[in-house]
């Protein structure tokens, strides 16, 4: 056992997470990061990609689960598998490209080949192996994640198959995925524009926390509201009906729908774009679900929901967070393509570039806050970061523990309650 693991094992994680405060070392300690990669990624359900990224047989993309490189591949049988990106001979990485299409993965070192379902296909000069090897050949296919499930096109995997059922994991997060798909007249979305990849000197949990933070916009994003356009809702108002919600299982959201409903206005979430500019999309929706339901969906808008531990439904964009080290993360952002969405899709694409990613009017500054957050944590006093806003405003609803104070830190607490359970192997007492 390495010294680092020794140290980690001796850390009492439970004592570092109080109901209203988080110990700073959870964002900075490399030993804790190692434990997280094992407990929260490699032994857990995680998001790995969207099935529209690999629509054809043989399509694949490379990702990581924790620190392990994987290939998400659609086999010639159409099935999506998550294969470990490692040759079973002497462990060469099989695939270096971000994505592609391949009938075979061929290891360049000694030429072993694998079918795109992971089976070992060819071994050069196989006479050099004895009978024992011939017998174990069927076991020498690429290793794969034990469980893969797809919901609404979102592909989730559990590497070791020891993290319980998918239904248990996804829990109430199905609702927000449904809400997103309900904006498509065909009930589908695609990711076809690729990803922006933003490298940031901040812990992955800091990135996640800021994505669902309802307290910061007025301050962090002041320059946007001042120089470019007013915020979609009035963050300064005490009357604002925006909710923060703990959906359970680490999933959480900022829900704008009640505020939008109170204004009964469509597309507040999409720069209040008038229907006339998206006439074909509106017509397709009305043909699909009727005028009343279309109006309701255009008012309610998309989810602003974090799905534990690495997927964020960022309204018209999808974000994936990849931990790199205790103080480094990559935030991936893809614009959503609404199937049958016609005119809205070109607007979503340009909107992604305006708001999101390393040059975005919003996210560049969120990234700056994350890096400052990480830098501030190098000061060891005080030891704790506070997450105590809004306790008294929380009410238990069917959808989850909800606060109609949008500045409540209900969303961040939702992540930490679940984090503590997974890291300590203990269910919190309700």
């Amino acid at each position: 056992m390495t010294a680092q693991m020794d140290r980690a094992a001796s850390v009492d994680i439970a004592s570092l997470i109080q109901h209203d405060r988080i110990h700073g070392s959870l964002y900075t300690d490399p030993a804790i990061f190692d434990l997280e990669m094992t407990a929260l990624f490699e032994n857990a359900w995680v998001f790995v990609g969207h099935d529209s990224e690999i629509p054809e047989k043989g399509d694949y993309l490379t990702r990581r689960i924790g620190r392990q490189p994987v290939i998400v591949a659609r086999g010639k049988d159409e099935k999506v598998r998550v294969l470990l990106n490692r040759c079973t001979h002497r462990a060469n990485m099989l695939c270096r490209a971000d994505s592609g299409n391949a009938a075979l993965f061929r290891c360049p070192y000694h030429g072993w080949t694998y079918a795109n379902d992971g089976r070992l296909q060819g071994v050069p000069f196989r006479e050099g192996y004895d009978q024992e090897m011939a017998e174990m050949r069927s076991e020498l296919g690429m290793a794969q994640a034990h469980q893969v499930e797809i919901y609404g096109g979102f592909i989730f995997a559990n590497l070791y198959g020891n993290a319980g059922s998918f239904d248990e994991y996804i829990g109430r997060a199905k609702g927000p995925i449904d809400r997103l798909l309900s904006l498509s007249p065909e009930g589908r979305i695609e990711l076809r524009g690729g990803w922006m990849k933003h490298k940031t000197v901040a812990n992955w949990k800091i990135v996640n926390e800021s994505q669902v933070d309802g307290y910061h916009p007025l301050f962090t994003h002041e320059s946007v509201y001042k120089a470019i356009m007013p915020a979609k809702v009035d963050y300064a108002s005490d009357e604002l009906l925006v909710a923060t919600r703990d959906l359970g299982g680490g999933h959480n959201e900022v829900d704008y729908s009640r505020e939008y409903q109170s204004q009964d206005a469509e597309f507040i979430w999409f720069k209040r774009t008038p229907r006339e500019k998206m006439a074909k999309y509106v017509a397709a929706m009305e043909a699909s679900v009727g005028a009343d339901e279309t109006h309701k969906r255009f008012v309610d808008g998309p989810p602003h929901t974090f799905i534990w531990p690495n997927l964020f439904l960022a309204e018209m964009h999808v974000i994936m967070v990849e931990p790199v080290a205790a103080n480094e993360s990559i935030q991936y952002t893809a614009p959503i393509h609404i199937a049958g969405g016609e005119e809205i899709n070109a607007r979503i694409l340009r909107n992604a570039e305006g708001a999101m990613g390393p040059a975005g009017f919003l996210i560049a500054d969120d990234g700056e806050m994350g890096e400052r957050n990480q830098a501030g944590l190098t000061a060891k006093m005080p030891e704790w970061a506070l997450l105590s806003r809004g306790f008294s405003s929380e009410v238990q609803e069917d959808k989850g523990l909800t606060s109609y104070d949008r500045t409540s830190e209900t969303t961040q607490r939702a992540m930490w309650v679940h984090y503590k359970e997974l890291m300590t192997g203990k269910q919190a007492s309700a």
Binding site: R192, H198, S223, G357
Partner: protein
């Protein structure tokens, strides 16, 4: 074809580079034509109508970007990066009417929370008008554009 870049156009591109280096937002904005495109793609062969870009600004979005920077509350550029960039290998690639397409290699040293190197190829379209030269299009093809990149809130 003669690939030699006329002196006045080279001088115009060096001026553009210096305004960008020194975060002289108003001066930089004054170089642009009305049909401007300022583009930082996520890969070299990107199609901006399909592929998401890091930046794909038309003239009005360039204005918004600079207006945000000028508030002093664009925290990812407050204070602004200190920068110096080298342009080299300037070539005329093609011409259509008054528009001249130019390619150049660049290395940019950006200092903010450490010193960072950005490198790649610039593709410019410069227009000759009666009022002087105007920048119509600037594309920056980073050598690492397919990888994760740091925050790029400065003028690249």
């Amino acid at each position: 074809m003669n690939t030699h870049v006329p002196d006045d156009i080279a001088a115009f591109l060096f001026l553009e580079a210096r305004y960008a280096d020194e975060s002289r937002y108003d001066d930089w904005e004054s170089l642009w034509a009305d049909d401007a495109i300022y583009w930082l793609p996520t890969k070299d062969d990107a199609d901006p109508s399909v592929d998401v870009s890091y930046i794909y600004d038309n003239r009005s979005r360039i204005h918004s970007r600079l207006a945000q920077l000028k508030t002093g509350r664009r925290y990812s550029q407050s204070p602004p990066s200190k920068m110096r960039r080298m342009l080299s290998n300037l070539e005329v690639l093609s011409e259509q009417g008054d528009d001249i397409n130019i390619g150049a290699n660049f290395v940019l040293y950006e200092h903010r929370n450490g010193t960072h190197v950005w490198a790649g190829r610039y593709l410019y379209t410069v227009r000759r008008t009666s009022a002087g030269l105007q920048l119509v299009k600037k594309t920056a093809l980073l050598v690492n554009n397919e990888d994760a990149i740091r925050t790029v809130a400065f003028i690249i």
